[in-house]
């Protein structure tokens, strides 16, 4: 049986855009790019979690750019951890707090533990540690993966989360071979949800829908147990676009159906926001072209590439057992 013998935080959802608290716990003065959506993830995550929070950051943009040369933008305590160890760092910190409280060396009080990782640190290198952590029911923690779809910190190398066909340092389009990256993006949140039946909360978020994203963080921290959130972050450097359209691209990822928003709470799947409207037929998915044409990393795409990308997204929405989450069909549903 799961035993969390210390108090859990009570984090009610923010009731509306204007009810969001003014205090910042991740503040200004970081060296991220203009229009960095991952920095926005840090800000919103810290705002949602509040002052009694410890943040652990694995190597990546949000480590290097935010805490450069002994300077920091964090108001709450933050510690660096190795590239692949966001899972272990979160688990170890939560276990340490639990032990200190049990031994009476610390007051028993709710303290949020959040470990963040990029897509390289999380979906590639840190996958096994995250997986192991999600099977430990005795510790309350959140692992948040900010996915900018490449190793952006070191100048855009291809990761397991890079979308089909994108230009990266490892996949430059050439005259003979136009598409050098022909693997499909990992389905990280769906994979973790399917593979960790005891995990109480897994969600996908997009900071262009900030209020909903913050409420996902609050639910993840207060549900009790290890939880996981996957955020898609437009990256002006790696996706090659004018930083001014960061927010628009975040919205387009959802409205074109490329990035489905959902939460899986105690085994119950809920689509939310525009994704829910798409699934219920109340909103028509925009063509993926609208999203891809605005990014320089797809500037080499020809019609057939757009068509292929669109067909894969259509397949996800029309053929998957659960659109955007479980990428197979049940035998009973065979046509």
């Amino acid at each position: 049986m799961a035993t969390i013998d210390y108090p859990l935080p009570k984090l009610e959802p923010f009731k509306g855009q204007k009810k969001i608290p003014l205090e910042e716990f991740f503040t200004s003065g970081h060296r991220t790019c203009q229009g960095c959506e991952s920095a926005l993830v840090m800000k919103m995550m810290a705002k949602a979690a509040g002052p009694r929070t410890i943040v652990l950051g694995s190597t990546g943009c949000m480590y290097v750019a935010n805490t450069t040369y002994y300077s920091t933008s964090w108001v709450i305590p933050w510690m660096h951890t190795q590239l692949g160890s966001s899972g272990s760092a979160a688990l170890g910190t939560a276990a340490g707090l639990k032990a200190l409280m049990r031994k009476g060396k610390m007051k028993k009080e709710p303290i949020n533990v959040i470990a963040f990782c990029g897509d390289g640190g999380g979906a590639d290198m840190g996958l096994s540690a995250i997986s192991a952590t999600l099977t430990h029911p005795d510790y309350n923690l959140l692992i948040l993966m900010y996915d900018n779809e490449s190793y952006a910190n070191t100048d855009i190398q291809l990761s397991g989360s890079t979308p089909y066909g994108a230009n990266t340092t490892f996949s430059p389009p050439g005259k003979v071979k136009r598409i050098l990256h022909h693997r499909w993006k990992k389905n990280m949140a769906g994979m973790l949800a399917a593979g960790h039946p005891e995990c109480k909360y897994i969600a996908t978020v997009d900071m262009s829908y900030g209020l909903q994203a913050m409420n996902c963080v609050r639910k993840a921290l207060s549900i009790g147990g290890p939880t996981f959130i996957h955020s898609l972050d437009p990256c002006p450097k790696g996706w090659d676009y004018d930083p001014m359209i960061s927010h628009d691209l975040g919205e387009l990822a959802v409205t074109t159906g490329v990035w489905p928003l959902y939460e899986i709470e105690n085994g119950l799947l809920k689509l939310y926001g525009k994704t829910k409207e798409i699934a219920e037929g109340r909103y028509k998915r925009l063509p993926v072209r609208d999203y891809l044409l605005r990014q320089g990393r797809f500037a080499h795409f020809k019609d057939e590439d757009f068509d292929y990308f669109q067909s894969k997204i259509d397949q996800m929405w029309e053929k998957w057992l659960y659109p955007g989450i479980i990428p197979f069909r049940a035998e009973l549903d065979k046509e």
Partner: protein, 390 residues
Amino acid sequence: MGRLFAVEIVYRGIFQKTLAKHISRAIVLAAHREGKPGISFGRYGDSPERNGIPAKAFAIVATDDITLEEGMAKYEPKEVDITINLDDTMCKGVESWAWYGLQPINRLLKANGTLIVTSREEPEKLIAMCHRKEAPYKLAIVKGIPSFSGLWVFKDDHTDVRVLGAVARVLPELFSIESLKQMILDDGENPLKATSAQRSYERLTTVTVKPNQGNPEKPYEFELLKWTEMRDGITIPAITPGHAMKDPVTGQTGGFQPERNATFKKFSTRTMRPVVNFDTCIKCTLCWLQCPDSCFDVTPEGLYDANMVSCCGCGVCEAVCPVPNCVTMVNEIGFSDNAGQWEMWRKDKEGYGTWLKDKIESHPVRSHGFRYRGQYEEQVPEALAAAEGD
């Protein structure tokens, strides 16, 4: 010993990375045609680059191998013959990745060296922005719109060859215009680019900047903790929580102003800044909430004041604002300070309205990067026309 030539190229991180690489490479190749060895390289400390944060590339050339070896036995040049500044707003100084505090744009220039700037502005304007220097130097303007693109798609608006034409003019000992043009053609470039280099060479005008000209301010510096001053486990203090704001007129307190990282300012990362029309603001919170740099202070009456200490000029606030013309991104060239706008508005609303109108209308609109396919092809004719002085 022979002669050593050092050229630095100061550019906007990522936006001008490819452009700077083209220029430093071409300097070495053009000089090589005249038998001079050289090396082109990016400054290690500026990597990994971030969009907008100033970065540097260098081209070091010598008349013989030994002199080059001697010149390269340093981490980076201590002084340069030419500083190329690819974006005029950096004349205010640069705060790069590997540097705490502001460096004047002309810091490394030798006495009588030349600062080459790509700009649409007149020399007086740029001289006033640059910090004063003890020795005289020259300012040469390559007329045109500062060229911005991204990591993957390059905007070929001839800025590279036009800057190189200017280098041939101000320092013919490094390479001649003939060597440059031949190098461009041998490189398989469009022959029109050799013509652009020649045009720039012919049209370049240079003015001398005297020691008593320029910005008299001392560039700001920061003192970082030494390792002996850090706490156990090499920890450093977190940023303290923020505080309420105070109305400069009524003395009313409220709202929220976060504390900010004291050792990194974003002044020199900006090419544009938001100006806010407080009279039309509907207090929707979006600019404040969606700002990745938390640059908006919340005033006692619930307005949002973009704090210029932390704004890096991305423009997301303008993009998310639902009210037309409430938040407008304006060319940074039009500002000589980082004064708070809300305070100005509270003290004199009418005067602020005039100021706002002037800032929005009096300077060329800028953009910074890829928005849609075909955009650069549309922009190149405009860029070439601006270079011709139209």
